[in-house]
């Protein structure tokens, strides 16, 4: 029962396709963020509305929590001293001059991650070129590596943004520009992959929520990679991910709970951060932390009452996470509705709103 984000789903062969959903087939094309449709799953009968109707679906007093992490250009070209090419995918925020990530073999995202040639195995102490700078390996475990770049902060960030590109997968051959993987409220670049559930939240919708008496609050969660090209590593995803929960958001959640409002998470990264921040004693603690908990269908969320997410089919690991918020049959009926209406499960596709019964 993994807890991954949505990116790699067409990068893998689906597990058991007859697993459910009545064979519901979703489209896989990108959808303009102004044209996203929303499957509402709040009862046994799912409904389909334009995403822009969100303010009418929530109640005054509810609180929507967003992940304001911007997406890094986390895919960087590299070459070893022997001339072997690789791709470094950053898996988390840049920490001073330390970079941590995963190596993929020669080639690019157009080859399915699991079909890429194995990357060169780097040894601790080895020097490699990443983008336009050299870096030294300080830790290596298979294709997971940690490197140090002997560059001052300004130059390192300049080099990474000059050489890097968004992490992509084979189902979308064209190169995504950096702007295509940012939400309309992104701030610090912490995410290795876009927290894509927030993509359809235009400012028209966000200000509409405010006018409807729905409050908005943010946290920052360093959404990591959703695939590594290595099956054993993939099974351990998501890795521990850094988050920061502002005091004002903890206060907003307490106030929402006190007035009987619901806490709606935009994206599974927000669920993970909030549930992690309350893991110790069921009480939310503000500040920075590392989310290690893994959510599965049996998990009973302590903080989050509802979730806005992309669409995921049975057989995808992500589907299991949605089951923490609604029974399987309810989700499957929603997917049938989505398939009938031609909705897209692309990470830049359509969406669902799940409210706990």
């Amino acid at each position: 029962m993994k807890f991954t984000r949505s990116m790699p789903r067409r990068d893998r062969v689906p597990r058991n396709h007859s697993a459910g959903g009545g064979g519901a087939q979703l489209r896989t094309e990108e959808v303009s963020r102004h044209a996203v449709r929303l499957v509402v799953i709040d009862s046994d009968v799912p409904r389909l509305v334009p995403f822009g109707a969100l303010p009418q679906l929530l109640r005054a007093g509810d609180l929507v929590v967003l992940n304001d992490a911007a997406t890094l250009p986390a895919s960087l070209p590299g070459v070893t001293g022997d001339g072997a090419l690789f791709e470094l995918r950053l898996s988390g925020p840049i920490d001073g001059n330390r970079l941590s990530g995963v190596l993929l073999g020669e080639g690019d995202h157009r080859t399915r991650t699991e079909h890429r040639p194995a990357p060169p195995m780097l040894a601790v102490g080895e020097r490699v070129q990443i983008g336009g700078f050299s870096a030294t390996v300080i830790a290596a475990a298979g294709r997971r590596v940690e490197l140090i770049a002997p560059l001052a902060g300004d130059d390192l960030w300049q080099a990474i943004y000059a050489a890097g590109a968004p992490v992509q997968y084979a189902h979308r051959p064209e190169l995504l520009p950096l702007y295509a993987v940012q939400t309309a409220y992104a701030a610090r670049p912490w995410a290795a992959e876009m927290p894509s559930a927030g993509r359809p939240l235009t400012w028209d919708v966000l200000l509409g929520l405010r006018r409807a008496g729905v409050e908005l609050a943010t946290l920052t969660h360093a959404a990591g990679l959703s695939a590594t090209g290595d099956e054993a590593l993939d099974r351990a995803l998501p890795w521990p991910e850094r988050y920061e929960l502002p005091r004002r958001t903890v206060a907003a959640i307490a106030a929402a709970k006190a007035r009987g409002g619901r806490v709606i998470a935009v994206g599974t990264t927000v669920v993970r951060a909030l549930e992690a921040a309350a893991q110790q004693d069921g009480v939310l603690h503000a500040g920075g932390g590392v989310a290690t908990l893994r959510l599965d269908p049996g998990y009973a969320p302590k903080i989050v009452d509802g979730l806005i997410s992309g669409l995921h089919s049975p057989g995808e690991s992500h589907f299991d996470l949605l089951r923490a918020f609604a029974p399987r049959e309810r989700l499957e009926r929603a997917l049938v509705l989505a398939a009938i209406h031609g909705l897209s499960s692309h990470e830049l596709g359509d969406a669902c709103l799940i409210l706990r019964a």
Partner: protein, 246 residues
């Protein structure tokens, strides 16, 4: 100082920060305790300014990029927020006159007008689109457009620049109207005539002694940023008329 909004500890981004008013603004915001990301096209002069601020104990970082280049905008914003964190103050100071000596509009190449609009209007618009959203969710932030009296007066030969600044003034007002109630303030500030490289390019025979110093104008602008009561969102303010309370 009549500051009612603290600059201490805020992340600030200033474009065109390697010289003139931009440099002075970066220096004064750093002195006031902001963590400052300085944006400019040329690395050399930019690094000198950054080093100068650091030598005086300030927190400053260099982001090399051209605000008029669409592909550079997300890099600029990403590097800046990677280096100084959340941006609470953004100052759109970089601008271009277009070709000098300044030309009559009928002698202005269409491409030159488009390039001026790209740097002076569309670039700031793109950067605001990236930064203002997070400010609005945090419930606080200040975005400053550096304007000019050429935005108001139809000076012959200042066509491309004047049009870009007039449009930027209106961009400022409409953003302020749309973001009302979010806590984000959008200001348009006419700094007045200053002794800068840009002024010399536009009016080579001006007497520098008759012009304001960038440092004194920057002091007024920092005071405006800190004063939500006297500098409310949507306002167009003139630096020469602004009095810094002591």
């Amino acid at each position: 100082m009549d500051t009612n909004i603290s600059i201490q500890g805020q992340g600030a981004l200033i474009t065109g920060a390697s010289r003139g008013l931009g440099r002075a603004l970066a220096e004064q915001l750093a002195t006031a305790g902001a963590r400052v990301a300085l944006v400019a096209r040329d690395a050399g002069p930019l690094h000198d300014v950054v080093e100068g601020i650091r030598a005086r104990g300030g927190i400053a970082h260099a982001v090399v990029g051209d605000i008029g280049n669409k592909d550079a905008i997300h890099r600029i914003a990403g590097q800046a927020q990677g280096l100084v964190g959340e941006i609470g103050i953004a100052i759109h100071n970089a601008s271009t006159l277009g070709p000098t000596p300044l030309r009559l509009l009928l002698d202005t190449e269409c491409e030159d007008l488009a390039a001026v609009l790209e740097t002076n209007l569309v670039g700031p618009f793109r950067l605001t689109k990236i930064l203002a959203g997070a400010m609005a969710l945090r419930g606080a932030g200040v975005i400053v457009h550096i304007s000019s009296d050429a935005a108001v007066e139809p000076y012959p030969r200042w066509g491309a620049y004047g049009v870009s600044k007039a449009a930027q003034d209106h961009l400022s007002r409409i953003l302020a109207a749309e973001l009302e109630g979010t806590g984000v303030r959008i200001l348009s500030i006419d700094p007045g005539e200053m002794d800068t490289v840009m002024h010399a390019a536009a009016i080579p025979d001006a007497d520098p002694a008759s012009l304001q110093r960038p440092a004194e104008v920057a002091r007024k602008i920092v005071s405006m940023i800190g004063n939500a009561a006297r500098a409310p969102s949507g306002a167009r303010l003139a630096a020469p008329q602004w009095e810094v309370a002591s």
